[in-house]
C-alpha cells in the first residue's frame, strides 16, 4: 500500500462528497422516526403589539390536529434563551423567552404551535388560530430607539441594551492637535447568513426515562445541551444533541433559538417525536439577522497621512431581543475599527439598541466586515483629501513585523489580553497589489471603456480566529483496521471530516480511506467546544493530532507487551509498530487493536483535548476589486477580484480556496444585494427569495484567491490560522472603494450598504450625472 503522505497541505478530495452527490446525505428533514408528528409555528404578523387573547379552538378542531399550545399552556416557566458570547451587563433585561406571552416584539416571533401528523394539516390549522393583537408603534431605527419615546421592553425603561466606551491613548487630545481630521457616518445593511438548508429539529422527549434527544443540532452542542438540560430540569446526561448533515451555517445555524425549546415542549406534550422544519419565509424572519450597524467614524492624521487617532460611535441595531451572540457584532466592529494599522489613540462609544426587528446574531466575519467597510472607505477619503495614493497611505500606516505582536488594548470590555500575533501585513498587501497590477491601474481610475466607468478599489483586513473553549478528539482503532475519529467539533458543510482525517492519516501514517469522522453529537465525546470563529482546523485539528500522537505511543507500549520486550527497541511507522533490530517484524494497528481487546477487553483508543488558552491567531491580507459601472443605469459589474489571505498553513489548499471564493461571493451579496428591508411599521419587505436577493452564477467576477503561508501561527504546533472568514471581511470595502474611484469625476461617495443601482443613480443624479 502506498500512502500519499503527507496529506496535510494536499488537496485531498472530500470524504463527505459521495453521499452528498448521490442524494444519500442525511439532513434533518430526511430523518424520519416512527410515530413522528410535525409542528408548525404561528408567528407574529405585527412588529409590536400587545396580545389580548389567543383562541386555538378552531385550529384544534381540524381533523387530524393532535395538539396546539401557546405560552399560557406551558406548565413550566421557561427560562430565557441564554447569552453565550459578549454577555454585557444590561443585556439580561432584553432576553427572549421561547414563546410570546403578553406582547410580540418582531414580525416572526413565535406565538402558538400546532402539532399534526403532517405539515399540510399543521399549516391548515395555523390559518385558523385567532389572536387578538393590539398593535403598537414600531421602533425601526436606532435613532428612534435611542429617543426612547416607544419602549420595546417597558420593564427595562429604555431601549439601550447597554453602552460602553473603549479605547487606548488620548484620542481627544490627538484630535485637538491634529492638522487633519475627517468625520463620516457609515451604515452597513441588515442581512443574514441564509444557509440553503433552513433550520430544523426533531425532539424525542420522554420525561419518565428521562431523555430529551434533539436531532438537527449543530455548532455549539455542548453549550446548548447544558442550557437545555437546565431549562427542562434534566441532568445533562439525559439530554442528547444529535448532529446530522448540515446545509450551511455561516454563524446563524446552531445557536439556541425559541424553537430549540418549543420542539421539545411539543414532544413532551404529545409523547411522540415531533419534527419542525423552518420554511424560507420563517427563516428570513426567525433566524438571526446580522451586520446592522451605524458607525460615526472620525480620523485624525498628519498632513502626510500618518494616522494619529480614530474616534467612533458604533450603534448596533440588535432587533427585539438579545440572543445568544450577545454584543458580538457591534463590539467586534468597534474592536476591529483600527484594523492592521498603527493607530496610537482610539476611542469608541458602543451602543446596543433594541428595535422591533428580528434579533441579531453572528454572520461570517461578524463585526469585521462592518468595521472594515467603515475604516477602509475612510482611508480612501483621507488619501483623496491629502492627495496621497491610497495604497501608499496604507503602507505608511500598516504595522510592520517589528511592531508585532501588538497588544491592542481592552477594546472589548473584559478582553484585556487581545494581541495581534506575528505577521507581515505589508507583505500580504504588496502581494495583492502585484497580482492585480495596481501600478498600472492607479492612474486609470475612472477610465471610460464602452460607456462604462472603471475603478479599482483596495482594502486591507485583519481578523481573529480560533477562540473559545478547548476542543476534543477521540481516535478509535477497530480490529479490521478501520479508524474512527470522534470530535466535539461540528460540521456545517465546510469539509471538517476531510480535514480531520488528513491530520489523523498523517500522524498515524495510514491510508485516509480507513478513517471515518463522527462529529458534533453530544453522544460521541464527553465534552467539546464546537464550531465557530474559524476554529475547526486549529482546535479540532490539533486535538486530532494530539490524540494520534498519544495513540502511537499506546501502540508501542502494547507491542512491547505483546512481544514482551522493551518499548525503547520499538518504533511506530506506516500504521504499525516495528522492532528496530528487525524491521520486518511488525504489528499493525489492527493487530494491536485485536490484542488490546483480547488482553483487557479495552478498545485501542486515545483521547485528547486541545486548548489554545485563549491565544488567538490573526489572519490578515488584502482585497482588490475592479468594477465597471454603467453611469446611465447605475448597474455595477465586478469584473475582477483578487484577494490575499495569510492563514499560516493550508491544511487542504482546495478547501481553503473554497472558503475564500465562497466567502468572497457571499460578501459580494452583502455589498450589492442582500438587504433585510423593513417599513415604518416594522414589516419585513424582503421575506422571500423573490425579494431578498442573493448572488447567483451570472454575477461572478474573475476571481484570484491567494492563500499565503508565510507566517505560521505560534500558538499551535501545526501553524494553522483560521481560513473561513478572510474571504468575506473586506469585500464591501474593496468594492465600495472601487465604485468611488470609477465615479471620481462625479465625486460620488459610498457610505451606505448595499450599493444598489437605484442608490447609485440617486447619488449620480444629485451630482448632475
Amino acid at each position: 500500500m502506498t500512502i500519499p503522505t503527507p496529506y496535510i497541505g494536499t488537496s485531498i478530495k472530500r470524504l463527505e462528497d459521495r453521499r452528498l452527490l448521490t442524494g444519500a446525505g442525511r439532513y434533518i428533514d430526511d430523518v424520519k422516526l416512527p410515530d413522528m408528528a410535525v409542528m408548525a409555528i404561528y408567528r407574529s404578523p405585527y412588529a409590536h403589539a400587545r396580545i389580548n387573547g389567543i383562541d386555538l379552538a378552531a385550529a384544534k378542531a381540524i381533523p387530524g390536529v393532535i395538539d396546539a399550545f401557546c405560552a399560557a399552556d406551558i406548565e413550566t416557566d421557561l427560562p430565557a434563551i441564554p447569552l453565550r458570547l459578549a454577555p454585557f451587563d444590561g443585556f439580561e433585561r432584553f432576553l427572549q423567552r421561547p414563546i410570546a406571552r403578553d406582547k410580540v416584539r418582531y414580525v416572526g416571533e413565535p406565538v402558538a404551535v400546532v402539532i399534526a401528523p403532517d405539515r399540510y394539516t399543521a399549516e391548515d390549522a395555523l390559518d385558523l388560530i385567532e389572536v387578538d393583537f393590539e398593535p403598537m408603534t414600531a421602533v425601526t431605527t436606532v435613532d428612534q430607539a435611542a429617543a426612547g419615546e416607544t419602549l420595546v421592553h417597558e420593564d427595562a425603561g429604555e431601549n439601550m441594551g447597554t453602552s460602553y466606551r473603549v479605547g487606548r491613548g488620548d484620542a481627544d487630545r490627538a484630535f485637538t492637535e491634529a492638522p487633519y481630521t475627517r468625520r463620516e457616518r457609515f451604515t452597513t445593511n441588515r442581512h443574514s447568513a441564509v444557509p440553503m438548508e433552513t433550520r430544523g429539529l426533531i425532539a424525542e422527549f420522554d420525561p419518565d426515562r428521562p431523555l430529551l434527544r434533539l436531532h438537527g443540532a449543530t455548532k455549539v452542542n455542548f453549550f446548548n445541551r447544558r442550557h437545555l438540560a437546565a431549562a427542562f430540569g434534566l441532568p445533562e446526561d439525559a439530554v442528547e444533541l444529535i448532529e446530522t448533515d448540515v446545509g450551511g451555517g455561516f454563524g446563524a445555524r446552531g445557536e439556541l433559538y425559541p424553537e430549540d425549546y418549543l420542539v421539545p415542549i411539543a414532544s413532551r406534550r404529545v409523547q411522540r417525536p415531533v419534527k419542525w422544519i423552518e420554511d424560507r419565509r420563517e427563516n428570513l424572519t426567525a433566524t438571526n439577522h446580522s451586520r446592522d450597524i451605524v458607525c460615526d467614524l472620525e480620523v485624525a492624521s498628519t498632513e502626510d497621512g500618518r494616522i494619529l487617532a480614530m474616534r467612533a460611535t458604533v450603534q448596533g441595531d440588535m432587533g427585539a431581543y438579545i440572543r445568544t451572540n450577545g454584543g458580538v457584532v457591534a463590539s467586534k466592529a468597534a474592536q476591529f475599527l483600527p484594523g492592521p494599522y498603527r493607530v496610537p489613540s482610539f476611542s469608541c462609544e458602543v451602543q446596543f439598541l433594541i428595535t422591533n426587528k428580528t434579533p441579531v446574531g453572528t454572520f461570517r466575519g461578524p463585526g469585521r466586515f462592518e468595521a472594515n467597510f467603515c475604516r477602509e472607505r475612510m482611508l480612501d477619503m483621507v488619501a483623496a483629501d491629502l492627495k496621497i495614493d491610497p495604497a501608499e497611505l496604507r503602507f505608511r500606516n500598516l504595522m510592520e513585523p517589528a511592531e508585532l505582536p501588538y497588544r491592542i488594548g481592552e477594546l472589548v470590555p473584559g478582553d484585556v489580553n487581545a494581541t495581534f500575533d506575528r505577521g507581515n501585513y505589508s507583505s500580504a498587501f504588496k502581494r495583492l497589489l502585484d497580482q492585480v497590477g495596481y501600478a498600472d491601474w492607479k492612474d486609470r481610475q475612472g477610465e471610460i471603456v464602452n460607456r462604462r466607468a472603471y475603478g479599482l478599489g483596495i482594502a486591507c483586513f485583519i481578523e481573529s480566529s480560533a477562540a473559545g473553549p478547548p476542543e476534543t478528539a477521540r481516535i478509535i482503532v477497530s480490529a479490521d483496521g478501520s479508524i474512527e475519529i470522534r470530535t466535539g467539533a461540528s460540521s456545517v458543510g465546510q469539509g471538517t471530516e476531510t480535514g480531520l482525517a488528513q491530520i489523523c492519516a498523517d500522524y498515524l501514517e495510514t491510508d485516509i480511506n480507513l478513517i471515518a469522522v463522527l462529529h458534533g453529537s453530544t453522544t460521541l465525546v464527553p465534552t467539546g467546544g464546537g464550531t465557530f470563529h474559524s476554529r475547526n482546523t486549529v482546535m479540532a485539528g490539533n486535538a486530532v493530532r494530539m490524540a494520534a500522537e498519544t495513540l502511537r505511543s499506546q501502540c508501542i507500549e502494547l507491542a512491547a507487551l505483546r512481544w514482551n520486550t522493551d518499548s525503547a527497541g520499538l518504533a511506530y511507522q506506516n500504521g504499525a509498530v516495528h522492532r528496530r533490530d528487525d524491521p520486518g517484524t511488525k504489528l499493525s494497528i489492527a493487530e494491536l487493536a485485536i490484542f488490546a481487546e483480547s488482553r483487557d477487553g479495552e478498545e485501542l483508543a486515545s483521547d485528547a483535548a486541545f486548548d489554545n488558552e485563549g491565544k488567538l491567531s490573526y489572519s490578515y491580507g488584502a482585497h482588490a476589486a475592479l468594477v465597471a459601472i454603467d453611469v446611465a443605469t447605475g448597474v455595477i459589474e465586478v469584473e475582477k477580484y483578487v484577494l490575499t489571505e495569510e492563514i499560516g498553513r493550508a491544511l487542504n489548499p482546495a478547501m481553503v480556496q473554497g472558503q475564500a471564493v465562497g466567502g468572497l461571493v457571499q460578501g459580494l451579496g452583502g455589498t450589492l444585494l442582500d438587504h433585510m428591508v423593513y417599513d415604518d411599521d416594522g414589516q419585513l419587505l424582503t421575506g422571500s427569495f423573490a425579494d431578498y436577493l442573493l448572488p447567483t452564477s451570472t454575477e461572478l467576477p474573475d476571481i484570484t484567491a491567494i492563500a499565503l503561508e508565510q507566517s505560521p501561527s505560534e500558538f499551535n504546533p501545526m501553524g494553522f490560522k483560521g481560513a473561513g472568514e478572510g474571504g468575506i471581511v473586506a469585500v464591501a470595502a474593496a468594492v465600495g472603494n472601487a465604485v468611488v474611484h470609477a465615479l471620481k469625476d462625479h465625486n460620488v461617495q459610498i457610505n451606505d450598504l448595499p450599493i444598489t443601482p437605484d442608490r447609485l443613480r440617486a447619488a449620480l443624479r444629485a451630482a448632475g450625472a
Binding site: 444519500a24 473554497g658 461571493v665 427569495f689 452564477s697 451570472t698
Partner: protein
C-alpha cells in the same frame, strides 16, 4: 381537503404507486411518500432550485409542481443519476472540482446541469453560467460548479457520449 388520489409515478426507472392529496407537491411526494430525500427544499417558492428534478427531460422545480401533474411522466431525481455505488461523470466532476461544500443545493445543480447538457452538449462557459443562474449555492461561490459542468461537457464531447 379533497380526497386522496391514487397515483402512479415513474421515478428513476421504477414505477411507484402512492396515495396523495391533490395539493401535494411533487417534491413532498418524492420525499415523504417515496422516501427519495435527495431532492431538497430550499425555498418552496421556485427561486432557489434545490428541489429541481428532471421531468420528461426538462429541469423542473418539484416544489412548484403538484404530484398529480407528474402522472405518466418520466422523472429522474438525484438518486437516479448513476447506477448504485457509482458516480456519474458529472457527479465525479463535482467531486474532482470541489464543487460542493454543504451539499444541500447539489442535487438541484446536478439535475439542472444534466437537463441542460442534454439540450446543449457543447455549451460555452457563459451558457453554463446562465443555465445554473436559477440555482442558489451559498457555500462555493459557484466557480467550481461551473468548472465541473464545463469539464463534463468537454469530456463527453471528447468521448463521443
Amino acid at each position: 381537503m379533497t380526497a386522496d388520489r391514487r397515483l402512479t409515478l415513474h421515478v428513476n426507472g421504477i414505477t411507484h404507486s402512492c396515495e396523495v392529496e391533490p395539493r401535494m407537491t411533487l417534491a413532498d411526494c418524492l420525499r415523504e411518500k417515496l422516501d427519495l430525500t435527495g431532492t431538497h427544499l430550499g425555498c418552496e417558492h421556485g427561486v432557489c432550485g434545490a428541489c429541481t428534478v428532471i421531468v420528461d427531460g426538462a429541469a423542473v422545480r418539484s416544489c412548484l409542481m403538484f404530484a398529480v401533474q407528474a402522472r405518466d411522466s418520466m422523472i429522474t431525481t438525484v438518486e437516479g443519476l448513476a447506477a448504485s455505488d457509482t458516480l456519474s461523470d458529472l457527479q465525479q466532476a463535482f467531486h474532482d472540482h470541489f464543487a460542493l461544500q454543504c451539499g444541500f443545493c447539489t442535487p438541484g445543480f446536478l439535475t439542472t446541469a444534466e437537463a441542460f447538457l442534454s439540450e446543449n452538449p457543447s455549451p460555452t462557459r457563459g451558457e453554463v453560467q446562465s443555465a445554473i443562474s436559477g440555482n442558489i449555492c451559498r457555500c462555493t461561490g459557484y466557480v467550481p460548479i461551473i468548472d465541473a459542468i464545463v469539464d463534463t461537457a468537454k469530456r463527453r464531447l471528447e468521448s463521443g457520449k
